[in-house]
């Protein structure tokens, strides 16, 4: 099935993904031209290939579908996705993977600020670097960064786990470096594998919550 968005617009594509597509369906999308809300709310295990750049919220709330963007993605890529796989061959703008619950999001290039904000279970693997305030209030899920992380990484993080290969310019409130142990090498290896990336695992550092702010304590007031 092919959709030329210059002709059909996103409505027809999304309707197809909701109503008609089934797990075997293969969908090619042409002329995305930075349009917003491409392939949002997909429900079935179909494959979607988008040939070009996409705007806001591409693959938002994805369930089951396997979506590849052959270009760059605008803000809110795969926001609140539930399952399935989303891959961007270029870079992703702000808040990719925001609040997402499950599945795998791969950004082959860089991801901008607030990558994985309020993460709720999704796994994110970024081939390049990520912007500031990434994994802000991230609850669960994992974020792997093969490049560097900008300021305030993991601010107010809960139970999500972060792995960074390069430098973290600064950690946010209540985020600390934690030792890499057996289970961490194992999960990192598996995530890199699934993302199709390979780097020596000893080059990664792990970050997570110090859990000091889990219950309000007035002695911590200066941390806010």
């Amino acid at each position: 099935m092919e959709f030329d968005l210059a002709e059909t617009g996103v409505r027809e594509l999304n309707r197809f993904l909701h109503d008609t597509a089934s797990s075997g369906s293969r969908v090619e999308v042409g002329n995305p031209s930075g349009r917003h809300n491409i392939a949002v709310g997909a429900m079935h295990g179909c494959t979607v290939r988008i040939n070009g750049h996409v705007g806001y919220y591409c693959a938002g709330m994805n369930r089951n579908a396997d979506i590849v963007v052959r270009g760059n993605a605008g803000p809110g890529l795969a926001e609140n996705m539930m399952s399935g796989t989303v891959r961007v061959q270029g870079n992703a703008s702000q808040y990719c993977g925001a609040t997402a619950h499950g599945g795998l999001l791969v950004v082959e290039g860089d991801a901008s600020a607030r990558c994985g904000i309020s993460l709720k279970g999704l796994d994110i693997v970024v081939g390049g670097s990520i912007g500031h305030m990434s994994a802000f209030m991230a609850q669960t899920g994992r974020l792997v960064v093969c490049g560097d992380a900008a300021e305030s990484l993991g601010d107010s993080i809960y139970e999500a786990r972060i792995y960074v290969r390069g430098k973290a310019a600064g950690l946010g409130t209540d985020c600390i470096e934690k030792p890499m142990e057996g289970e961490h090498f194992e999960e990192l290896g598996e995530l890199l594998d699934r993302a199709g990336m390979s780097h020596p695992m000893r080059e990664f550092r792990r970050y997570g919550s110090a859990r000091r702010l889990y219950n309000f304590d007035v002695d911590n007031a200066s941390a806010y």
Partner: protein, 443 residues
């Protein structure tokens, strides 16, 4: 001996009143601000400061029990394929499962459904119980996105994007650790027993231009079927309402500063935002200025208690109102039946506002299974339905007296103000005069 003191000579300070002194002492002892539930307790200009003009020589009233006075309202007529038809212009506001027990949520759902109106989820997601018992359920889309998922989104009869709440415009949510049961923790993807801070800003959009795209995303996911509301706390209401309309809302919900909350800093509840009374007027002005009054429906909330409040809000131009606290009271909140329990918690029926701490003896604002079991959802639903019926009957009584066959035909011209403040805020004349402060009337 205290009984020897003649107390009639003791003068309490207006500045340092007993509650103020007590709060300073509490702050000095505990070192943390007071977090509580309920709404603003200070005195504010309200709908009580307005009066309706009944019909007389120049207007014909309708016969009280015979002539029809329509209360039906359709919400979301702008873009949605399936607007919401409600039988009475009073809806149940969003209150989270987590803040409220599952029994209370079910009670609200049953009550609303019995009278043909809608109820609303809250910060924490949709529970199967409330979906099952709600004919019309509005699904809130909040900054925290706790429990947000496309399946529940598609089960919703409308989606309400919460930008803010009257009790705390500019503030996020808070659910203290003691209220996080296994079920609440699971629905929110967080460990049990820790404080849950809900963000005050949405994670994936920032201004009204982004919001417009966000609304399109939600419409795409729901196939343009259901209305999309935007809820704002009343502050810069004129601009907020206009930006909500520009962003593509079907319905705008404006929540005044006396609106209830489950847990917010007292200083926030009492000192931020504007009251519901001016907010309605400003919101209607904003819609009229865009030529969108009645095209985009306006729901108003914050301190609605009676059919008179509803009638006055409608007369000022709202399409419907929403209630939170009053619905909880209808279910048994602050009932004298629980006086002993309230006393044990250091409070009393009529004063209780500790929705944040999970020990609510009525079983309403708690996650304690023992306390929750005290509330029978069927009985609670019955009471909510009764109360909603009374609001509707009162509203009809007033509308008929003003000669209206439809409650929405109530208009500002049917109102006068009792105080200079209310007159200025509602922009209706001070009773007995044709004077509206700050407004040049062209006659």
């Amino acid at each position: 001996m205290s009984d020897k003191i003649d107390r009639s000579w003791l003068l309490e300070s207006a500045t340092f009143s007993r509650p103020v002194i007590r709060e300073i002492q509490r702050a000095a002892r505990e070192g943390i601000y007071d977090i509580r539930g309920f709404g603003a307790k200070r005195k504010l200009p309200t709908f009580d400061d307005l009066l309706l003009l009944g019909a007389s020589m120049s207007r014909y009233p309708l016969e009280g029990y015979r002539e029809k006075c329509d209360t039906r309202v359709t919400l979301g007529t702008r873009f949605a394929a399936r607007p919401l038809e409600i039988a009475t212009p009073v809806t149940i506001a969003g209150m989270s499962f987590g803040a409220l027990s599952a029994q209370a949520k079910e009670g609200l759902a049953r009550g609303a459904t019995e009278v043909g109106t809608s109820t609303t989820t809250g910060d924490g997601g949709m529970t199967p119980e409330e979906r099952e018992h709600s004919k019309l359920l509005v699904y809130q889309y909040l900054p925290s996105r706790y429990g947000m998922n496309p399946d529940d989104l598609r089960k919703a009869d409308a989606v309400e994007i919460v930008v803010g709440q009257g009790a705390k415009p500019g503030g996020g949510g808070m659910l203290l650790g003691q209220k996080i049961s296994d079920r609440v923790a699971e629905m929110r993807d967080l460990p049990k027993g820790i404080d849950q801070r809900s963000a005050c800003r949405h994670p994936d959009w920032t201004g009204p231009d982004d919001l417009e795209i966000k609304i399109q995303e939600l419409r795409e996911i729901t196939d343009w079927q259901v209305p999309i509301y935007i809820k704002v706390g009343a502050t810069r209401t004129f601009f907020d309402v206009q930006l909500a309309v520009k962003a593509g809302a079907d319905v705008v919900v404006v929540d005044g500063m006396q609106g209830g909350t489950a847990a917010t800093q007292d200083v926030f509840i009492e000192h931020v935002g504007i009251p519901t009374l001016p907010a309605v007027r400003i919101a209607v002005d904003a819609l009229k200025d865009l030529g969108m009054h009645r095209e985009v429906q306006l729901i108003v909330s914050g301190g609605i208690r009676s059919g008179a409040d509803v009638a006055k809000a409608l007369a000022l131009g709202a399409d419907a109102v929403s209630i939170g606290t009053a619905a909880l009271i209808a279910m048994g909140d602050n009932s004298p039946e629980f006086e002993k329990d309230y006393n044990e918690l250091g409070s009393s029926a009529g004063y209780y506002d500790d929705y944040q701490d999970g020990q609510d003896p009525t079983g309403i604002s708690t996650q304690d299974p023992g306390l929750g079991a005290r509330l029978d959802p069927a009985m609670a639903g019955r009471r909510v339905a009764n109360y909603l019926r009374v609001l509707t009957l009162e509203l009809q009584t007033l509308a008929r007296a003003a000669g209206k066959t439809n409650v929405r035909n109530l208009e500002p011209e049917d109102l006068v103000a009792l105080t200079v403040e209310a007159s200025a805020m509602a922009r209706v004349p001070l009773a007995g005069t044709d004077w509206i402060p700050g407004f040049e009337q062209k006659r």
